[in-house]
């Protein structure tokens, strides 16, 4: 192993060190200390982005990076693994981190700001760690780190509605974590290891009943984290209550960690289930899309509408996972590549939309869409309206935005696999998404400007709009230069599907006892 593998620790260490330094000054609440925390968070998020881009540059050439902490060989020690998929997710997380720190500087009330930045950095540390974890237990640990940080972020304002939403969030997520931990326990009890590479070797030898039970529990656990049908109910209960900066990073980031775990675990450990469970995965995807988009039509505040769209979009990503197994004309793994491309598009656009919606809410003092509340923002805040418009059309899939290319990729994969129903559902859902975005525009932005508003706090326009503009431009750039970005997604998908390469890169030692002999049925 080479020295450069040590860089894999940086995405975890950089947020940790800066969050800890930000806590050092948290002795009293003064404006000066909050300013120190803000600058520490800005430096940390920029450093994090630099490290993530470095890892992306290394892994896009098709190699994997492996770090054995403390030189303990796999499967004994903590193994960190990065391939192109992990690096893409790390880079997106880091980009969203920078954007949200800027947005929080523009919108966050100074007094509320105490410990927002350290908590955000702890959240980034948990997410980064989950993307790098090379074994099931550390994946669980980093899920818990991000769950704890996100729980405190959700209830940061201390209003009863926020504590209420935070409690639902934490209880339902802890149930999912318990399921995950149960699965990890069963894996360790039967297969004698938690290292993903060694599990990939041994899972094929395990009895089929065990494989199905484990895959089922893990699908429930990750599906709940990802907000899949019918386990999504914690998401609309909690996402609209916290500060807009918190909603923006949650909507962009958190469900995608669950999706990442599904994309990582299923092709690696249960490759044969991807074809035999294809109907299940595609049904879940279709129902998730439909319930999300219908839910968005029924609710009447801007951030609730956008939260329901998070659910419906997650369905598209699972559709990519469901289409892995089949590929007649197109390259193998085209469906997975389309799913990964969809994640790239979605994380950027959804965060931009939630930021714009939150800024609208802060400017007008309300997020309600009924007549007499929100309205006329196009005249009052034209720059914000333009950014919202572009992001909304990107989400709905209008060319030349990234949304168009990503939906086209999934549609192509579905038609190639002969899965007509899911292709039809995805088309209908994107039409309904467009309608929902038009409804938001008509209720919130069109119409005469209102004179009697009660803004919660006037956001600083430049710091609030700059990150939204950055993300919207990124979305347009991905749409226009879609060929190279899709190439990265294909590299990532090929690496995710290449189980042999993963096992060889991690190279777990084989002399660990297992509880049954190969070929023997229990």
């Amino acid at each position: 192993m080479d020295f450069y593998a040590n860089w894999l620790a940086a995405p975890i260490l950089v947020p940790l060190v800066f969050a800890a330094s930000a806590l050092l000054v948290a002795r009293r609440v003064t404006l000066r200390q909050i300013r120190v925390q803000r600058s520490l968070a800005l430096v940390a998020s920029l450093l994090n982005l630099a490290v993530a881009l470095l890892l992306l540059y290394h892994t896009l050439q098709g190699q994997r990076m492996v770090l054995y902490a403390g030189a303990w060989q796999a499967p004994f020690g903590i193994t960190l693994v990065a391939d192109a998929f992990s690096a893409i997710m790390l880079a997106l997380t880091a980009l969203l981190g920078v954007a949200v720190v800027l947005y929080a500087m523009g919108t966050l009330d100074q007094r509320q700001g105490l410990n927002f930045y350290p908590l955000l950095l702890f959240l980034l540390m948990g997410v980064n760690g989950a993307f790098l974890a090379g074994d099931l237990f550390n994946l669980y640990v980093f899920f818990e780190v991000l769950l704890m940080a996100s729980f405190v972020l959700l209830s940061l304002g201390g209003r009863p509605s926020q504590v209420n939403g935070g409690l639902r969030y934490v209880v339902l997520n802890l149930i999912a974590s318990t399921l995950f931990l149960t699965a990890a326990g069963v894996v360790y009890g039967t297969l004698g290891t938690l290292n993903l590479a060694q599990l990939a070797e041994r899972m094929a030898l395990a009895p089929q009943s065990l494989r199905i039970v484990l895959a089922g529990i893990l699908l429930l656990a990750f599906g709940s984290k990802a907000g899949l049908f019918p386990l999504f109910f914690w998401l609309p209960a909690s996402y609209h209550t916290p500060h807009p900066a918190v909603t923006a990073i949650f909507g962009g980031l958190l469900t995608k960690v669950g999706i990442y775990a599904l994309f990582r675990i299923f092709p690696l450990l249960f490759p044969e289930l991807l074809s035999s469970w294809q109907p299940l995965l595609l049904t879940v995807a279709a129902l998730t899309m439909l319930t999300g988009v219908f839910g968005a039509m029924a609710v009447t505040t801007i951030r609730r509408v956008l939260s329901f769209h998070v659910i419906s979009q997650v369905g598209y990503m699972v559709m990519g996972l469901g289409l892995v197994a089949s590929g007649n004309q197109l390259a193998l793994g085209f469906g997975l590549a389309a799913g990964i491309f969809y994640i790239i598009h979605h994380m950027i656009v959804k965060t931009a939309l939630l930021m714009a919606g939150g800024a609208a809410e802060l400017t007008m003092g309300t997020g309600r869409l009924e007549p007499g509340y929100l309205g006329g923002l196009a005249k009052r805040a034209p720059a914000l309206a333009v950014l919202f418009f572009v992001a909304a059309f990107s989400l709905a899939g209008i060319p030349p935005s990234s949304g168009f290319v990503s939906k086209l990729g999934l549609l192509q994969a579905a038609l190639d696999a002969g899965q007509w129903p899911i292709a039809g559902v995805s088309l209908v859902v994107s039409l309904l998404t467009l309608m929902s975005m038009l409804r938001l525009w008509q209720k919130g932005f069109a119409g005469p400007a209102k004179s009697d508003t009660f803004p919660l706090r006037t956001p600083q326009p430049r710091l609030t709009l700059a990150p939204i503009a950055l993300l919207v431009l990124a979305s347009l750039a991905i749409g226009i230069f879609s060929a190279p970005v899709f190439g990265w997604a294909q590299t990532a998908a090929a690496q995710v599907l290449d189980r042999e390469g993963y096992i060889r890169a991690v190279a777990p030692r084989a002399d660990i006892p297992r509880l049954w002999a190969p070929g023997e049925e229990h």
């Binding site: 020295f3 593998a5 040590n6 894999l8 620790a9 260490l13 940790l16 060190v17 969050a19 800890a20 330094s21 930000a22 806590l23 050092l24 000054v25 948290a26 002795r27 009293r28 770090l67 902490a69 403390g70 030189a71 903590i78 410990n115 350290p118 009863p160």
Partner: protein, 143 residues
Amino acid sequence: MPELYLALLDRILTPVLLLLAVIFLLAGHNAPGGGFIAGLVVASAFLMQILARGDAFVRRLIGPYLQPLMGAGLLIAAASSLAGIGRYGQFFEGVWWQLQLGGRAWEFGSPALFDIGVFLVVSTFVTSYLLELSRPAKEGGRK
């Protein structure tokens, strides 16, 4: 006012608990003990103080320092993970330093440093949790 027997117990138990915490911390990484356990023991000493002298006293005593100490603990733990890169080019590799003092060689390792970091984080985190739990409920309840 706290009960008399609590005040008495506090006088006896708190030094014992603190001494026990030091022993656990030094007992180290491989033997039973370590930073996590020692941190819990120190937090239980603070719990003793909360029961005997009230939460306001403890909050005045260390309240503002809890979060900075938590940060310092995390920084120490992170530094111990980086020591291995500095010496061997390997993240989290254990490093041992020797110190000649009083005609004897004293050994000190980066795992112990990690334990001290964990000790600081656990003791301050659990103490701040206990302080938050002992805060009297606000009047009025639902808002």
